[in-house]
């Protein structure tokens, strides 16, 4: 059924022009339907949100340097960590890799000219950015202090009605997630190049496809939950409020039914990135391709049956707790398979420590620590002790920041030459990558010890004996900040002054490397035909 390879319209681009040469007018960006330009639009918005959220984090860490809690009042501290959590989860982590790298690369990696629905793609950027700014305004102006989870009945009875606006904003942004998910799924299903069967897809494509599925299946449940919160607040309807016959646990069930899978929206794409980098810089085909594909899908599906591990101590029945504990252990299996396969790929390879490889190896370390401590938390009895302590904070930062953000940085450095056609400063990039690895461990490792010793999360002051660990953690945050700021500088510099990279500086396989850098408007001068499996290294 392989069909005609070019349509007539393609002939207009007989001499391929690169996607940036279409001009730099505001119009050419804000009205573009080219998935590559849309990826940049996302990159700009997302970076803005990221540094905003990071500034809040630094303030939090500054406050915690001294036990007394003298920099901020308790209320401002609550508002600050709410702001930090809301921005980082909803506006950075969830869209980050899929909306930027995924948007840019997914069509290219399957040999397509664009996403299936380019206008929808642009629309989803508008929804994301405008919704994000709206939420941010509501959170700051209104001083929302519910944390990023909007737990009821606090969020619904709480005197401050800004929660309503904030929840509405997050609801709106959810649509952008759904639209992106639909686009990924349909594009992967219908637009693969001739010869590109499902088992020849690069793992990054598989990861984004699975992420699309999770987005589409989970986000609507979050949407209805937020609608119910809004109705409860605005109309006094009692769905969650026990005083009105409602059930607050119901909120937590609905909320975590989305938010646990959301963790996989964050981590799966990062796994996809690492699966591209490691084979390339160990000159080895990925070990156990089929196992990798199956574990991606297993992670995506199992993610839907473990939400109850967030509620071990909130009053669900003991039997539910045991069941959720069991399922949570199960999720560890596909993650372990992936980690072992990456290690096996490295083991047989000729490793070169390029910048993106340093990020990928950092990912392995951080994800392993985060994952193993996750197994602690999945154990019902241990979680009762560790719940709502800094152990949790450390665990999810190892996963979310150590996993998702490190994967994002690795991907950015791996594909930068493809995105821009230019190289960045290798020494500086190496410094930044190491700063990130050291900074992360220094910031969050002490928090495991703090949590184990009993320091609860979300407190703005603490007993003297925790001081050393807190100071170490704040020190780490400074190093980490360096690891995030440096790339902003040398990458911006490379946009203008970087050396030209040529189409394939890493000598990598994959369709995206077979076209010019930066790529032409419709990606390929001729639609490629695929004849072999991915990662044909050596």
């Amino acid at each position: 059924m392989t069909s005609v390879v070019y349509s007539e319209s393609e002939d207009r681009h007989a001499t391929p022009r690169d996607y940036l040469s279409g001009g730099w007018s505001i119009r050419s960006w804000l009205l573009t339907v080219d998935h590559k330009r849309i990826a940049w639009l996302y990159a700009v918005s997302i970076t803005g949100f990221f540094f905003f959220g990071s500034a809040a984090a630094l303030l939090i860490r500054l406050e915690l340097i001294s036990p007394a809690g003298d920099l901020l009042s308790a209320e401002s501290y609550n508002k600050l960590f709410s702001l930090h959590g809301i921005v980082m989860v909803w506006f950075f982590l969830i869209p980050s890799i899929p909306a930027t790298l995924g948007n840019f690369l997914l069509p290219m990696m399957i040999g397509a000219r664009d996403m299936a629905f380019p206008k929808l793609n642009l629309l989803s950027w508008y929804i994301y950015t405008l919704g994000g700014i709206f939420t941010l305004a509501a959170v700051i102006a209104g001083g929302v202090d519910t944390g990023w989870t909007f737990y009821t009945p606090y969020s619904t009875l709480f005197s401050n009605s800004a929660v309503l606006a904030a929840a509405t904003g997050v609801f709106i942004v959810g649509f952008s997630s759904i639209l992106t998910g639909i686009n990924f799924i349909v594009t992967t299903h219908t637009m693969r190049a001739p010869g590109l069967s499902w088992l020849r897809l690069p793992l990054f494509v598989w990861a984004n496809y699975a992420t699309g599925l999770v987005m589409v299946l989970a986000t609507p449940v979050l949407a209805i939950t937020l609608v119910l919160i809004a109705l409860e607040r605005a109309l006094g309807i009692g769905i969650f409020d026990p005083a009105l016959g409602g059930d607050p646990l119901l909120f937590q069930h609905l909320f975590w039914f989305y938010s646990h899978p959301a963790v996989y929206i964050m981590i799966l794409p990062a796994m996809g990135v690492v699966s591209e980098i490691i084979p390339c810089f160990s000159r080895n085909p990925i070990f156990g391709y089929m196992g990798m594909v199956l574990s991606i899908m297993a992670i995506a599906l199992f993610g839907f049956v473990v939400w109850g591990h967030h509620m071990f101590v909130s009053g669900q029945s003991m039997y539910a707790g045991i069941l959720f504990s069991f399922f949570s252990f199960l999720v560890a299996i596909p993650s372990a398979i992936k980690t072992l396969n990456w290690t096996a790929t490295l083991f047989r390879g000729q490793i070169s420590f390029s910048v993106s490889m340093i990020y990928a190896l950092s990912f392995l370390e951080l994800f392993t620590v985060g994952g193993l401590t996750g197994v602690f938390l999945a154990a019902l009895a241990l979680d009762v002790h560790l719940h709502d302590t800094y152990f949790i904070t450390a665990h999810f930062h190892y996963i979310m920041v150590g996993g998702a953000v490190t994967g994002y940085m690795g991907g950015l450095h791996f594909w930068w030459p493809k995105l821009t056609g230019r190289m960045y400063s290798r020494p500086w990039a190496t410094v930044a990558a190491l700063a990130l690895l050291i900074g992360l461990n220094l910031t969050f490792y002490p928090q495991f010890l703090l949590g184990y010793a009993g320091m609860p999360r979300r407190y703005h002051s603490y007993p003297e004996e925790f001081e050393i660990l807190h100071v170490l953690s704040s020190l780490g945050a400074g190093v980490l900040a360096l690891g995030y700021l440096l790339p902003l500088i040398y990458l911006s510099w490379s946009l203008r002054h970087g050396e030209k990279s040529g189409p394939n500086p890493w000598d990598a396989t994959g369709l995206e490397w077979q076209t010019a850098s930066p790529p032409p408007v419709h990606n390929f001068a001729e639609t490629p035909v695929v004849t072999e499996k991915p990662y044909a290294y050596k």
Binding site: S3, V4, V5, Y6, S7, E8, S9, E10, A112, R113, D114, M115, A116, F117, P118, I178, G181, I182, I185, V186, T187, H189, T190, M191, V216, L217, A218, T219, P220, V221, A223, I224, T225, V227, L228, L231, L235, G236, I237, G238, I239, L244, G245, G246, D247, L250, H253, L254, F257, H522, T527
Partner: protein, 225 residues
Amino acid sequence: MPTSSGQAGARPEDETPPETQFDNMDQQRHAGLLGMWVFLLTELLLFGGLFAAFAILRLQYANVFAEAAQHLDLKLAAINTALLLSSGLTMMLAELAAGARLRKVAVYWLLATILLGLAFLAIKGFEWYSEFRHQLMPVLGLPFRYPGEQPAIAELFFNLYFIATGLHAVHMLVGIAILVVMLALVRRWRRPDRLDRQLHIAGLYWAFIDVVWIFIFTLFYLLRG
């Protein structure tokens, strides 16, 4: 009823070029349909969260919910179910007629579908109005006087009822708006092959609204024992 004007655009191969990102029309059609299916899946899950919430509370407060359900008007809801199912049929006939290039017939069936949808909404509105008159509408701070036991929990039932039927009614309005646009397009009758695709996608959405209603009808009205 096939009239001469019905054949106006009846050339089987009105080949229109696909949009630039697609190789051919087949691929484009496939993508459009799959997109709609996935979108409907998300819509189903949107209602799914609501239905799950209802199911959990319904198990928890079985007696009160069952009694509260008896205050809903089963007869009107049954009529509405019949109307909506018929509209599913007329929509399918409209699609078939357009596929056979019978323009006028397609217009009539579309019109019938829209009228059935409007009739549904009118009855629904009347139902809400009578619930409002019996003071069973707790939204917007209206007084709620429930004659049975445990009014607070019955109130929860009515809250969920108004949210579910309200959300469904919003979807009906969107569906009717889509059908009106389709009606205009069919009357203009340019590029029938494209109309075919659009009608098919609109029909899918309409069928979805039908399915959601069946769930609402079963969960809220029929579970009264």
